[in-house]
C-alpha cells in the first residue's frame, strides 16, 4: 500500500475546517491506492512560499507522494509553483493528488498532460479573483 502525506489548505480553513479537509484527503489517498501516514500544513507566513512542504520534502524518507486538499495551495504566491510540482513528480518520483479537484498526477507524463489545464485555470482564477469576493477573500486570507 502506498504511503502519502496529507497537506491541508490554510486558505480554505475559514470555510472548510481542518478535520473535513483531512477526511477528503484520506478519501483521495484511498482512491489512489494508499493511506495517509502523516499530516501537515503551512504556517501563515509560509503559505505563499510553501516553505514547510518544501522542507518536509527534503527531509522525508520513503514516501509515495502527497495529498493536498486543493490546487490553490500552489497558487498563493505570485505564480503557480510548477517548480515544486516538478520536483515532487520528476525528481522525487512522487505522486501528487488534489482532493478538492479530484486531480491525480502520478508521473512526469501526467504532469505534462495536465499542464495546459493547470496553467490556464491559474491564469483565469488570478484574473477573476479581483472581482470575486470568495476568491479575493481566499487570497487575502493568506
Amino acid at each position: 500500500m502506498k504511503s502519502f502525506y496529507s497537506w491541508v489548505d490554510f486558505g480554505f480553513l475559514p470555510h472548510i475546517p481542518q478535520s473535513l479537509q483531512h477526511l477528503a484527503n484520506r478519501d483521495m489517498a484511498e482512491k489512489a491506492g494508499g493511506r495517509i501516514i502523516f499530516y501537515g500544513a503551512e504556517e501563515p507566513h509560509t503559505v505563499a512560499s510553501q516553505e514547510l512542504v518544501r522542507a518536509k520534502l527534503e527531509r522525508t524518507g520513503p514516501l509515495e507522494g502527497f495529498v493536498f486538499f486543493s490546487v490553490f495551495q500552489f497558487c498563493y504566491g505570485p505564480e503557480f509553483h510548477f517548480s515544486l510540482l516538478k520536483t515532487m513528480v520528476e525528481s522525487r518520483r512522487m505522486e501528487v493528488h488534489f482532493a478538492r479537484e479530484g486531480i491525480s498526477i502520478r508521473n512526469p507524463d501526467q504532469l505534462r498532460e495536465q499542464f495546459d489545464f493547470l496553467y490556464s485555470m491559474d491564469f483565469t482564477r488570478r484574473r477573476e479573483s479581483a472581482n470575486d469576493p470568495f476568491f479575493r477573500n481566499l487570497l487575502a486570507s493568506v
Partner: protein, 257 residues
C-alpha cells in the same frame, strides 16, 4: 451554424440546430441501444423503436431506477458521448465559443417513461455555473410536446427571475409563470437544443406514449470566467486553437524545463 440560427440564439438565448455530422449521434444511439438489449434481453430490432418503447417492458419502481442508473453508469464509463456530440455539432459550438473549448467531464443521460412523476422543475444552471457556458441537449429519440423540454427565452427568463423574489409562495408563482411562458420545443433526433446556461428550463411530466431519452452536456471557453463549479472537477479540455497550443507549449518548456 446558419445565420438564422445565430440570430435566434442571440435573440432568444437558444437555438434548435441540426447536426452537421449525424454519424456520431447514430453511433451514440447504437451503443446505448446495444446496452439496452444486453440488459433487458429484449426489445425491437430498431434502436429508435426500442428506446421509445422501454416503458412497455414493465419495469417499475426500484427496478426501473436500477436500470436507469446502470445505463447512466455505462454511458459515462464506456461511451465517449461528449466527444461524439462535439463532432456532431462542432460548427455551432466553435461559432459560439471560439476554438479553445472545455467540455463537461460527465454526461447526463435522462430516461423518462410516460407518466413518471419525477419531472425536472424549472431552474437555470448559471449562476452557479458560469454565464459563459452552453448547454447542449441532445435527444436520442424524436422529442415533442411533453416528451421534450421547455425553455424560457432571455426576455421571459428575466421576468421569471423577478417573480422568484424569495417571498413566501414566490416559487409556486415562478413555476406557474415558467409553464405559461415557456416554449415547448420540437427537437427531432439528429438535432440539438443549444442554450445559454442562464436560461430557465425544465421538463414536464412526459404525457406522450413514448419514453424520453436525452443526453445533456456543457461546454465553455477555456479562458472565460469559471462560475462557482470547480472547473477541474467539472470540465476537461476538448480542443485548443493552434495559437493557444503553441503558446502553452512555450510556457510548458519554460516552466517545466
Amino acid at each position: 451554424m446558419r445565420t438564422s440560427h445565430l440570430q435566434d440564439f442571440e435573440k432568444k438565448g437558444y437555438a434548435v440546430v441540426e447536426a452537421g455530422n449525424r454519424a456520431p449521434l447514430e453511433n451514440i444511439r447504437k451503443l446505448i441501444y446495444q446496452q439496452l438489449i444486453e440488459r433487458t434481453k429484449t426489445g425491437s430490432d430498431h434502436p429508435d423503436a426500442a428506446l421509445n418503447t422501454v416503458h412497455t417492458m414493465g419495469m417499475t419502481g426500484s427496478e426501473f431506477n436500477d436500470f436507469r442508473l446502470g445505463m447512466i453508469r455505462h454511458v459515462n464509463e464506456k461511451i465517449d458521448a461528449g466527444q461524439m456530440i462535439f463532432e456532431a455539432f462542432r460548427a455551432p459550438l466553435v461559432c459560439l465559443l471560439g476554438e479553445d473549448i472545455l467540455i463537461q467531464k460527465g454526461t447526463n443521460l435522462t430516461i423518462q417513461q410516460p407518466g413518471d412523476p419525477d419531472k425536472s422543475d424549472p431552474h437555470r444552471d448559471a449562476p452557479p455555473n458560469s454565464l459563459y457556458e452552453l448547454v447542449v441537449w441532445v435527444p436520442l429519440v424524436d422529442c415533442y410536446g411533453t416528451k421534450g423540454m421547455y425553455v424560457l427565452d432571455r426576455e421571459n427568463t428575466q421576468k421569471a427571475m423577478q417573480v422568484l423574489d424569495g417571498s413566501r409562495g414566490s416559487y409556486d408563482r415562478f413555476e406557474h409563470f415558467c409553464e405559461e411562458s415557456s416554449d415547448t420545443l420540437r427537437v427531432p433526433f439528429g438535432h440539438a437544443l443549444i442554450f445559454w446556461a442562464g436560461l430557465v428550463h425544465g421538463a414536464r411530466i412526459n404525457q406522450e406514449q413514448e419514453t424520453r431519452w436525452t443526453i445533456n452536456i456543457r461546454f465553455k471557453s477555456l479562458f472565460s470566467p469559471n462560475g462557482l463549479k470547480e472547473p477541474f472537477q467539472f470540465f476537461k479540455i476538448m480542443q485548443l486553437s493552434p495559437l493557444t497550443r503553441m503558446a502553452l507549449e512555450n510556457q510548458k518548456r519554460q516552466v517545466l524545463q
